[in-house]
Amino acid sequence: MRISFLLALLATLWLANCNTDDETPVPDDTVVEAGAGVLVTNEGGFNDGNASVSYYRFGDNTIQQEIFAGVNERPLGDILQSMTLVGDTAYLVLNNSQRIEIVDVKTFESLGAIAVQGSPRYFLPIDEETAYVSDLFGGVVHVVDLSLRAVIVSVPLPQNWAEQMIKVGNEVFVSCPSSFGQPPSRQLYVIDAVNHVLVDSIEVGLSPTAMLQDAAGSIWVLCSGDFDTNTPGGLYQVDPQTKAVLQSFPFADNNIGFAPRLAIDKAGSRLYYTKIGLYTMPINAGALPSEPLITADGRDLYGLGIEPGTGNIWLGDAGDYKSRQMIYRYDGDGNLLDSKLAGVAPSGFYFY
């Protein structure tokens, strides 16, 4: 009698203690409208499976979280490294899931996926049939057949880490940062995008990471330098036709932040980059800016985007990389307009 009472008591205790978990919040249905907002990619934590996409609407300044999971009723994957918009299709590169999720941007419904064995970083469309995918460890750029949705060949590179890619004519320029335990890298590699072979290299600063092309066609490369040897990086301007380095702006120190970012305005005439704080300079400036436009103030500025219509600046704070963190919207003069909580490690802003 007493034992059954005790058992009942214990059972009640377990029920009370163990089954108190709330259901996970279900985001609202969402539709992404052209020009109506910004898509925020949240990288997530390694092996935490919490990569996500948030959508901020300009109209009512509201943010919707986890739009992919909300629409497709499954998680997106692990480590959302980058997103590439090609028309109405988005390619979301999930580094640790070793796959690229293909999504209809308007509905955010999954259209399928490309498996990439390795450690995919960035996606670059070459033509209607082909795309390139860079790889963190493999020392290759993968060539993907878009109709087969599969890697058909991988182009070997002299460095392990292939990062960002830009296509100019029939050539693809690949930035290769220095990787752990490897000789230092200062190269952009040039791949013939018709025959998928390495054809050339261009020496810039130490550890080239972020790249973009300006209105005049020049490629700008942000080099992050090296912490171990205390070697600063810099900003480099390269002519993709002649392969010549047009201008070099070495940084005074290597205090550059965990993952420096580079962005350009819609006109292609003003550069923005993070080096702890946010700096900006016109492409024809003769020198680097001496003061940041926006100071970090203890934040880890991990995401950067420039709003096409307004020139507003978007910044994401990665915090401790183990919690949902804030994104910030500033006007072009660096005045704070709004801030919202996004996902874990907000790293990219994409304007559709």
């Binding site: 034992i3 005790l6 058992l7 214990l10 205790l13 377990w14 203690n17 163990c18 089954n19 108190t20 978990d21 934590g45 092996n47 935490d48 499976g49 919490n50 499954r74 998680p75 994957g77 692990d78 640790n96 899931s97 070793q98 796959r99 498996a115 064995q117 390795g118 450690s119 963190l136 460890f137 493999g138 020392g139 392990n160 990787s179 335990g181 992050s224 912490f227 171990d228 290597n254 205090n255 550059i256 932040g257 965990f258 203890g298 880890d300 990665a318 915090g319 401790d320 990389y321 183990k322 919690s323 949902r324 963190q325 909580l341 874990v344």
Partner: protein
């Protein structure tokens, strides 16, 4: 289907055989026994009287001898095991502190690797330890760096005078598990020998669901480990005794993909060599012990997918001397000196980091004439490791009333030195780190009672920790770097209840425990950030377990229940692993044949087939089965 048939066969065949075996009456049937185990680590016995200690129930331990330490700790109150599954790394954190705050001591020697500051509980087989005990609460005043949250004591007990004995335990079951241990023991008045061999392997190819909900068998998850432990004691006249311990261990593990990864090619190999020599002398009013030990670890990690190939070796030499003297009746003093040399040779470090550490400790113990009160004041100071180390005092007090009621109170200052990785990791290591330090207070109240056929024990305890300079890795100046930025406040309590009833020649036993832990981030670099004031990740607030067991005429049947509330996986508590409840069954039959005796048993783990994780996206097996056999032979 074949799977179920196999499971069925595992269960039925041995039990059909069991019914034919002659029964052996258990020694425990006439006296109801709450397990109490001998303690050999000299500083543990009686020198922390006010601290709560938990011993793994010896009956439950007998079912786990071919498994690893992590399995035995999972059902203990006040400790949370983080198990990556499939034989991979498992660590334990006490009362809301972190895994690095739990000292793991083998006969008093720290097993935490200097590079990681952790001991991997998955490669510490229970077969090698005669006594497994958990001390809840800080104990730096006795055990130095690392014992900030608590300590796990793994001790050997020298063979008693009793001639030769030989025992074997083998267990096999689901997912290709096979664990075997063989022990040769010999004890005489002047000499004892214990030789233990251990072998364990598993495929760990259990079913799990990936993050897209697709059911798969866990690939690349095999594990294998083997070890040999040789221990000898030589007893000399006039109270002298020499102990020799030698332990070699090797493990190879394929690291399976997490639920978010499609595959994995990572592999880890561990090797450990541990040798210790101790000389003890016990006189009328004094005793001393000196010890010399060499501990060596090698860890090789390869992953062709990420081009990672690392080979790390660490070595530690420990020399210590400790003496105890009785000043007068009821008043004892203890003091000791310790030297510890640590080095690491790793292809991830640019140099060859080394550390010398010296420590002195002293303690005074007073027992009241009626033995009602027992009080210990102790203190320890360590020097070296290139940084200022705090003095760690401790006060421990116990009061008891004729054995019916007991109360304990303790307060201590504790610390943990930064690990080699914290200090020397290339480009990130921070040479300016301070030791983590904190204050800890705890109390408990215990009562035991016997009435008629009943016997019971009830215990309540509470604790409080304030830890400062807690080291976490944060992005800074271009790299993740460790920094002394976090302040943590952990507090909570636990309750434990044991009820036993004699039933004819048998016994029914109910044991339950519940712990509440609130461990919060009270400050870090982003003091106003979203993680401020929030529960630390991987610390469940609620945790509990219960066992209902019946034993009679050589049979034993038990149902075990284990449960934990949610554990947060993000520091702002916006995501978590859901709570879980796990059931398990144990059925065994003791047997005797001529001079052989032993036990045959069957276990069902995760009886209700709960889908759960202890580390995010590291799946653990569903319902599975094990069959084991224990054979013991002794000759006077």
């Amino acid at each position: 289907m074949a799977y179920f048939r196999r499971c069925f066969l595992y269960c039925i065949i041995p039990f059909a055989a069991l019914l034919w075996l002659p029964g052996r009456t258990l020694a425990q049937t006439d006296t109801i026994d709450i397990p109490e185990v001998t303690i050999t680590a000299s500083r543990l016995r009686g020198w922390q009287p006010g601290q709560e200690q938990g011993a793994v129930d010896s009956m439950q331990l007998s079912f786990l001898k071919t498994q690893n330490l992590s399995e035995a700790l999972r059902r203990q109150g006040g400790i949370y095991v983080r198990d990556y599954g499939a034989g991979n790394i498992a660590t334990a954190a006490v009362r809301g502190t972190s895994a690095g705050h739990t000292a793991v001591l083998w006969n008093g020697l720290p097993l935490q690797d200097p590079m990681l500051g952790l001991a991997d509980l998955s490669i510490l087989p229970l077969f090698f330890f005669d006594d497994t005990r958990l001390a809840l609460g800080g104990a730096s005043s006795l055990w130095g760096s690392g014992a900030l949250g608590g300590a796990i004591h793994l001790d050997s007990r020298p063979e008693r005078e009793g001639g030769l004995n030989l025992s074997y335990q083998g267990e096999g079951g689901s997912f290709g598990f096979l664990g075997q241990g063989l022990k040769l023991g010999y004890g005489s008045s002047g000499f004892s020998n214990s030789t233990k061999l251990f072998l364990q392997s598993a495929d760990n190819d259990y079913f799990y669901k990936d993050i897209f909900g697709k059911e798969k068998r866990l690939p690349h998850a095999g594990s294998r480990q083997m070890g040999a432990l040789q221990e000898n004691t030589f007893r000399f006249p006039d109270g002298h005794q020499l102990g020799v311990h030698f332990w070699a261990h090797q493990a190879e593990r394929d690291i399976p993909p997490s639920r978010v990864q499609p595959d994995s090619r990572a592999r880890q190999e561990d090797e450990a060599l541990r040798a210790a020599l101790d000389w003890q002398w016990v006189g009328q009013r004094s005793s001393w012990i000196t010890r010399l030990a060499l501990l060596q670890n090698r860890l090789q990690y390869t992953d062709s997918l990420t081009n990672t190939f690392s080979d790390s070796r660490t070595r530690s030499i420990l020399a210590e001397a400790e003496g105890t003297h009785s000043l007068s009746s009821g008043l004892d003093v203890k003091g000791g000196l310790q030297f510890n040399y640590l080095e690491a040779l790793s292809d991830v470090y640019p140099g060859f980091p080394r550390q010398d550490r010296w420590a002195a400790f002293a303690a005074l113990r007073w027992e009241s004439p009626g033995r009602q009160w027992l009080a210990v004041v102790s203190g320890r100071q360590e020097w070296g490791a290139g940084r200022a180390i705090p003095f760690t005092p401790s006060l421990s007090l116990r009061w008891q009333n004729e054995g019916a009621l007991e109360a304990g109170l303790s307060a201590s200052r504790n610390y943990r030195l930064p690990t080699f990785n914290d200090l020397y990791w290339p480009g990130a290591g921070n040479p300016n780190l301070r030791p983590e330090k904190g204050w800890n207070q705890s109390l408990y109240l215990k009562t035991e009672k016997e009435w008629g056929h009943w016997r019971g024990l009830a215990q309540l305890s509470g604790f409080n920790y304030n830890v400062e300079d807690w080291i976490i890795w944060l992005p800074e100046d271009g790299l993740f770097r460790p920094e002394n930025v976090r302040q943590v406040w952990s507090r909570g309590g636990s309750a434990r209840l044991i009820l036993e009833r004699r039933l004819g020649a048998g016994q029914l036993r109910l044991e339950g425990n519940y712990s509440y832990t609130r461990s919060t981030n009270e400050g870090s670099r982003d003091a106003a950030g979203p993680s401020f004031g929030k529960q630390l990740i991987y610390v469940p607030r609620h945790q509990g377990g219960a066992t209902l067991a019946w034993q009679s005429g050589g049979w034993y049947l038990a149902y075990l229940q284990e449960c934990a509330g949610r554990t947060y996986t993000l520091s702002d508590n916006s995501d978590w692993l859901p709570g879980f409840t796990l059931g398990a069954l144990r059925l065994s039959r003791d047997w005797q044949w001529k001079t052989f005796s032993g036990r045959l048993y069957v276990k069902v783990e995760n009886l209700w087939d709960e889908n759960y994780e202890l580390v995010a996206n590291r799946p653990l097996p569903g319902r599975h089965f094990r069959v084991g056999l224990n054979i013991h032979y002794s000759k006077k």
